[in-house]
Structure formats: structure tokens, C-alpha cells
Symmetry: C2
Amino acid sequence: MPGVTIRDVAARAGVSPATASRVLSGHPATSVLSRERVEQAVAELGFRPNAQARSLRSTRTSTIGLLISDVRNPFFADLAHAAEQQALELGLITLLANANESVEQQNRYLDVLLAQRVDGLILVPQGGDNANVEMLASSGLPAVFVDRVIDDIDLPSVTADNSSGMGEAVQHLAELGHRRIGYISGPRSASTGRERFAAFQAATLACGLEQDPELVVFGDFKAGSGAAGARQLLDLANAPTALIAADGLMTMGAVRVCQELGIRIGEDLSLVGYDDIDAFAIMRPALTLIAQDADEMGRTAVRLLHQVIAGEKPEPVVLPTRLMVRKSTGPAKTGENR
Amino acid sequence: MPGVTIRDVAARAGVSPATASRVLSGHPATSVLSRERVEQAVAELGFRPNAQARSLRSTRTSTIGLLISDVRNPFFADLAHAAEQQALELGLITLLANANESVEQQNRYLDVLLAQRVDGLILVPQGGDNANVEMLASSGLPAVFVDRVIDDIDLPSVTADNSSGMGEAVQHLAELGHRRIGYISGPRSASTGRERFAAFQAATLACGLEQDPELVVFGDFKAGSGAAGARQLLDLANAPTALIAADGLMTMGAVRVCQELGIRIGEDLSLVGYDDIDAFAIMRPALTLIAQDADEMGRTAVRLLHQVIAGEKPEPVVLPTRLMVRKSTGPAKTGENR
DNA sequence: CTGAAAGCGCTTACAG
DNA sequence: CTGAAAGCGCTTACAG
């Protein structure tokens, strides 16, 4: 393939490069004879069109970028998988990029993806320096937000209702008699971090639970911060009887700490996780959690992007979240805290 | 950005496109004055170089492709993350593609990645139709295999020692008194599937365990097949007292089935998983497993590819695997099988 | 249905 | 240090 160009193909087929190009791109104005000859030449030469040159001319790549915040987070892995399958159905190829929960890295990939001239971009925006995202939005390149959103940037989006599932979770714990609920929050820089936290505060207020600021600790959506947060909350002189973590990885960290500390989840402490991850189903006790549909979110993002590419301006989509009650939540221990 | 080209920048800076290009690409032969002017023009215009055009001319993209077999498999997610970080350190940007354990999809992405003219490619090859991979190998594009390998294709590779960890696992179970070990194998189309299975057979033979073909079932490295396999093995009239699954996802499936069946892992049944996944550490009982270092594998793959790009021909690397004994394995139940 | 020609946006010897 | 010019590999009006 190296060095085989469309002129080689054309020469071998005895046609002009223009005709070869038409055959290759399925243009209707080609004769059967040309088609046969060109196709044979392509096969013989092992010709592989140079996408760079092609899209330089035609300005389409049939490729979309999907910039997620963390491949290692099962939620995003699921989302990416579903998005990619949906894209395939629409004839689009997905190039995945991993921001690794870092704005700097996000911005770097943003540059690359734009430079590669993807036809569109699906973005889980990081918080922080939005200059590049603003540039993206104003560049006219079809783009949509998924999962997270940046407030002042007007792009179609698919997000989850970060409020209802959280509300159900708090109410569930309140009904079990918990008064002091510890909260391991996502970062304030992410819309999901802010919204879930706001929902937590609103719900604890509505249920008349304690509003002690000590009960809230901020993490970064990674496991380490969930572990650190759990440790800090459980070390409190007046420790909470229940914990909610605001994403899957932080939940993992919290579970690990409980195990290290010998705390029996579901008995000594109630724990509500976030995201319906396989690992949470096989844990014993199985984890009560706030579920969102990662697959649907990924598929919807691609569909929205497809509409944007087609020139439409789709409305924002908000997907439901819901509490799945399993075995990690139980009645609050009255009297002493463990 | 749309429409802003290097000539616009040059015009605004009062220099030729050639000079603008030199400044942009850090060519030494530029005056301070030109540099300043061009940089200012770039900033004012929000110019973003077109990577397509650039690499069409220079034939380098500073981009590598990483084609993995399943994003949702934590092993590959970890590997991808580590590879990407290592690539960044070497100034390379990673475009991730997900074959989804399908040759067809792999081949499709292979086409795209080649068409995008990545500077190199890291590939977890699927089994089946190798035509495209052969083409890749003979195309001269720098490429390396990671995790899996295709026998007759001579490409540098980094793999794990699929034999030693498996050997330890079988021996461990034998020492606990297990005579009938069920094995949930990966597909024969993958080198890892074949090698682990061969190691299992060799080890059971060496330990003098039963060689009943009924004890082996073949899956596809996905959770569903692990579940189906476990169910089939546990339904046997003469069911095994221990199970080994050949990858992380199939292990997850097997665990799920045990739980559904009310089988107590570590007591009624010993279970050895594959891959050192977070979920397996927080399970109760914590899972005994065969661990390989996904991070190191990802990093090594990038390093090898980097060498290939530099014109070297690196030796294959084989990383160790090892048994981590935790709580899911115990003495074989004598007498009745549950 | 086909070909000659121009051009997509850059980079790079070649002169100076 | 700089510019004019050619060219990377395609595609696409424009004529015919």
C-alpha cells in the first residue's frame, strides 16, 4: 500500500484518475466497464485511499470524535461502547479519546480531533479552562455534550436527571431512620458534581436531616478520592450512619475503605453508590445505588450529533435516574455509632 | 476557525506562507520578528492548522492508533489508559478504537486508522479473517501486537506469560484437594484463549487431575459466555469442585451465576478468576485470581511501537503472570458435591 | 460517461 | 532568514 495512489490505479485500469475516483466513491456516472477495471486494479494493487487527501478535498471524513473523561470508569466505557455501535449503524466511525479527568488533556485531544477534521464531536466536558470548548462551539463544527454540560455554552446535550435519583436515595435513607448522611461529592467543576450535590442538599433539607457541613467531602470522580472521602467521614467524632457517593469510582473507593476498616456495609453503615456497574451487583451485600442508563446516553448522543451534522438543532435530552434498592442500606443504628 | 488558513495568517503577519509554516512547525530558520508577528496573527485569527493537509505533505501525524478488543473489559480499559499516558509522554496522541471482540469491526477500524495515516498502530488482534492484519504487516506501517498475537504474522509484540499463572492456579487447587476442575476457556481463535487452555491442560495432567472433556467449556471473553459456561459446568451430574475462568468478564459472569444458584464461593465451590480487576478485590469473599499487569503491558506496547517507528526491530516482550490467593478458594468438599 | 485541470491547506527543497 | 513554486493524493465543477 505504501505509495500506491489513485493514479497508479487509474493507469493500471486504463482510465483517468477522475474516473477511478468516481468508481471509488460510488459516483453514479461510471460505466460498468470502468467499474470492473478499476475494482480489479484496486484489488491487484492493494490500493487504500488516503483519507487525509480525500477529506482535504471533500471536507468529510465520516469520522466522529468521542472525548470521554475516563476510560477506566465503567460508566464511560459502557457509554463509549454503546455510542460506537450506534455510530456504526449510521455509517460513522468513532475515534475515542480519553481526557483522564484532566482539562489539559481534554484540550490537547480537542486540538487533535479538530485537526483530524472529524465530522462531529461528542464531548464530556471537563471543568476549568473552557477556552477550547468555547472555540469548538463557535467553530461551527457539529458537537454535542454528553453527561456533563458547560453552562454558558450553547450546544445540544444529553444528560441524566441528576436530581431525582439522588432525591429518592436521601428519602430512602431518611425512611430507614438515618439523620446524618455523609456525602462524597464530585468536583464542583463538573456540572454533574454540582447538580448531584445540590440535589443532595435539597433532599436532606426537605427530609429534615442534619445539614452539618462536616458531612460533605469533595472528590474528583476517581477511586482514590472516594476512599479518602470515606475515611474522613468515618473518622468524624460524630460519624454519619449512611454514606452516598456521587459516582461509580468513588463508590468503589468507599467500599474498599469500609472493608479495610472492618465496617459491615448494610449493618454498621448504609451505603448508596452511583452508577449501575456490574461490580456493584456481585458485591455482597449487593449495593443499593442510583442508576442511570449509560447505553441509552451514548446512543442518544450519537443520534443528536447525527442530527446536528444534518443541520438540525435538536432539543436537549434529559434521561431519568432511579434508585435501585438492594442490600447495602438498612435501618440506622440507634444509640452509639458503631 | 472554519476557513482560516495559513495564507490568512501569513497575510495578516505580513510574511509568506512559507515563513508562517516555519514558525508554526518550530523550524529554526525564523527571525524573532516573524515569530512574533505570526504568533500574534494566529492568536487573533484563532488559526488551527489542518492536520490533514499537514500530514498529506509531511506524511507524519504524531498520532497512533490503539485497536483494542473490548473497552468494557477493565483489563483493556486499564491497558488503554496506561498506553495513552505513555504515548503522551513521547509526544504521541492515541486514537482508540474498539473492535468489540469482532473481526469484522476490527477490520473496519483497521481501514479507518490506516486511512487516517496514523504513524503507528497497536493492535489486539481478533482471530478469524486475518487478511487485513496481514496487509497491515506487509504495508510497512509500524505496528505491534499487544496481549494477543497472530502466529504467522511477524510483528513485535508484548504479551503475558499465559502459562505460569495458570499453572500456579491449578497446582493451588490440586493442593487443596480438588480433582475435578472446571475450565471456562477463551475462544480458540485468540492466542490467549489457546495458550491459557493449553496451560490448563498441561497443569492438570502434571498434577494428575481428571481430564474429563466435559469439564471444559468455551466462551468468547464476554460476561454472558462466562455465565453460560458456569451454568453448564455446575449442572453436570458429576460437577467440578472448582472453576477457573480465563478472563475477567467471563469470571464476572461465573460469579453472577454462582450467586443466582446460591452456591457459596470459597466453600461450596472454589473459584479462580482472571485479571486483577478492582471489582474482584471488593467482592466478598475476595477473589483468588491470575493477575497480569495491564498497565505495564500498555506502556510497553507504546515503547515498542516507538522503537519500531524509529526504525528498530524490538524483541518480543513477555510479561509475568502470577496467582494471587485470596478467599474464593478453599479445600475441596469431600463426598457429596454440594 | 469521461478527461483535463484546478485546487483543498499545508510543507519543503531550491535559490537567494 | 525568506519567498516563489511545486507537490502531497485526492475530488469536483466544467466541457465535451
